[in-house]
């Protein structure tokens, strides 16, 4: 069974919020208690503590309400002016309602000590705690934003590290690596020059992989260099069975693309489109500018998605999808589907940028 990270489990926020308010209750009780003891008065610890706990309990509910409100009208969204107005109204309203709820609860529990009518006690309570309650409201908002930012930052960092690791693993796909080493080993005996060429290509690939691990985007030219090295090795391995065509529009070479974007798509085309069929296969790679967008395509002439229906489309694709989502959000498209006329086509559309 997989376990959710601690902070993602449903009951955790409740427990944390309750614990915070219980701490506030104890904190106030001790302060009042120490003051009273210092002044030489008798002090009913339990009576004060239970009143503070009721106070805290009301605030637990209000805290959840604040989080709800903030989800609906976030202060850091585009409509922040309206959101601020909503929050101001809500903070005043809560600061008024909180003491009334508190008095009502104390009376219902039979812990109320003031014999005056409800409304009298309530009014006094509102006046007495309005400022504290306002402070609490905005304090809750502050903690929420600080914590939220912190969590988001650490999540992003983890994702980035993950995708870098994936990128590295993808290049060093063990099956590809060892088969290439074997190709070199065989060629060494019969064609040392070819063996050396393959070895140099493999070294280039490894070097580029290590160099680019930190970079998020590179010019398409660089990505194609990498791909060229990769394809040369694959051509040596599959030789008569692999025909690769590249069509890059002259203006597209400088466009920035995510590092290692194309390689997993091409690898997929080779592995799922070409390899499973004993006949020679073709892979077509194209890039062109389309208005403000860059359109990339990797197409094979294999059996299509249905033909190899059961075969998984690889970890590489999942990672690519997640990376594109993070880098471009709504501004990109990524589709893999059956190509008209057979085979599979992977299409990526990105904003055209040259820096």
């Amino acid at each position: 069974m997989t376990r959710l990270p601690l902070l993602k489990r449903r009951w955790v926020p409740w427990v944390l919020i309750s614990a915070c308010w219980a701490f506030v209750a104890v904190f106030y009780t001790t302060q009042t208690g120490l003051q009273a003891t210092y002044a030489g008065a008798t002090f009913a610890w339990w009576h004060v503590l239970r009143a503070e706990l009721v106070y805290g309990f009301v605030w637990v509910l209000l805290t959840l309400a604040i989080i709800r409100i903030d989800r609906l009208v976030p202060l850091d969204g585009t409509g922040w002016r309206g959101a601020l107005a909503v929050h101001l109204c809500a903070s005043v309203l809560m600061s008024v309602l909180q003491p009334l709820a508190m008095v009502a609860l104390m009376r219902a529990l039979g812990w109320g000590t003031n014999p005056k009518p409800f409304w009298e006690v309530g009014k006094a309570s509102i006046v007495g705690s309005f400022h504290v309650n306002m402070t609490f409201y905005w304090g809750v908002m502050g903690v929420r934003y600080i914590l939220g930012n912190y969590l988001r930052a650490s999540q992003l960092e983890a994702q980035l590290a993950q995708s870098q690791l994936q990128a590295l693993k993808m290049q060093l796909h063990p099956h590809f690596l060892f088969n290439t080493l074997h190709t070199i080993s065989v060629l060494m005996a019969e064609d040392p020059k070819s063996a050396n060429r393959t070895l140099v290509r493999l070294s280039d690939l490894l070097r580029m992989t290590l160099d680019d691990v930190g970079a998020q985007v590179v010019p398409l030219k660089r990505e194609m260099d990498f791909l060229e090295g990769y394809l040369e090795i694959e051509r040596t391995r599959f030789h008569d069975r692999l025909d690769v065509r590249v069509a890059i529009e002259p203006g597209a070479w400088d466009a920035r693309v995510p590092t290692f974007l194309l390689q997993p798509l091409v690898e997929n085309a080779i592995r799922h489109g070409i390899s499973p069929h004993a006949r020679p296969g073709r892979v077509e790679i194209s890039a062109r500018r389309d208005g403000d967008d860059l359109a990339l395509e990797v197409r094979d002439n294999g059996g299509g998605l249905n033909g190899s229906g059961a075969s998984p489309r690889g970890v590489g694709i999942t990672t690519t999808r997640a990376r594109l989502e993070r880098l471009y959000g709504e501004a990109h498209r990524f589709e893999i589907g059956d190509a008209p006329g057979g085979g599979v086509v992977a299409r990526v559309v990105l904003p055209f940028r040259t820096s």
Binding site: H175, L181, S185, V186, H277, A278
Partner: protein
């Protein structure tokens, strides 16, 4: 002693040359043939009956495991599996003590794998390890979806959905599909065991029918049925098997 005849099966031409290179140092071994995919391998193993097969695990269309399954463990010659990287297969090879060779290899490792396979051939202890390996490998799979068929000099896969009925012919089986009849080297019992029992039902001792191709059941004499297929063919069922057919067709 007669020369050891080996078959080399790998989808990468360079990798096949690698095995030939390894064999150069072993003059008592001769290469019976090379195959670039699983289908060719099945045909070559049947036609040439080699003593030993260097079998690549990952290949197009039909992988090494499927080649052995198609041939049948009992008829399979000795095998040395060859693979570049496949941690699951390697674990299984170790567990079931079959011979394997990792790419890349050197003369020493090649010689060790070959010697080992040779002593295994001499002791004739071949089948059991492969049987264990295969049953583990195919444990998750439910039923046979396609069959390797050779017709008119061509070897190809036949989707089981295309089969209308199967007729026993000694140790062979005739697959009736459309207007064609394909002869395969399987007994009716072994096919029945591999096919989905909800789709393929025995209607008499020597006949299995694809229930999706059945149009109607016609009562015949003495409680037997005639099974009429969509194609118009009429098969006879025997009383012994009537119940299963009736249960599946819900009559």
């Amino acid at each position: 002693m007669a020369k050891l005849r080996v078959l080399i099966v790998d989808d990468e031409p360079i990798a096949r040359r690698g095995i030939r290179q390894g064999l150069e140092a072993h003059p008592q071994v001769e290469v019976a043939g090379e195959c670039g995919n699983g289908l060719e391998a099945v045909e070559a193993i049947r036609d040439q009956a080699p003593d030993l097969v260097f079998l690549d695990v990952q290949m197009p269309e039909m992988d090494g495991f499927e080649v052995i399954e198609e041939i049948g463990v009992d008829r399979m010659p000795a095998v040395i599996f060859v693979t570049a990287y496949d941690k699951y297969a390697l674990r299984a090879f170790d567990v079931h003590a079959v011979d394997y060779l990792l790419k890349p290899f050197d003369e020493e490792r090649f010689a060790r794998a070959l010697d080992h396979a040779r002593s295994r051939i001499e002791k004739k202890t071949l089948g059991e390890e492969l049987r264990g390996l295969l049953s583990e490998h195919f444990a998750g799979r439910k039923h046979l979806e396609r069959l390797v068929v050779k017709s008119g000099g061509r070897i190809f896969f036949l989707d089981v959905a295309e089969i209308e009925w199967i007729e026993a012919a000694d140790n062979y089986a005739e697959l009736h599909a459309g207007k064609q009849v394909h002869l395969v080297r399987h007994t009716l019992a072994s096919l029945e065991a591999k096919l989905d029992p909800d789709r393929f039902v025995r209607i008499r001792h020597s006949t299995i029918v694809n229930v999706r191709r059945v149009k109607e059941l016609r009562p015949a004499s003495s409680g037997e049925y005639e099974v009429v297929l969509l194609s118009g063919a009429v098969l006879e069922s025997s009383r012994r098997y009537r119940k299963r057919l009736a249960a599946i067709l819900d009559v």
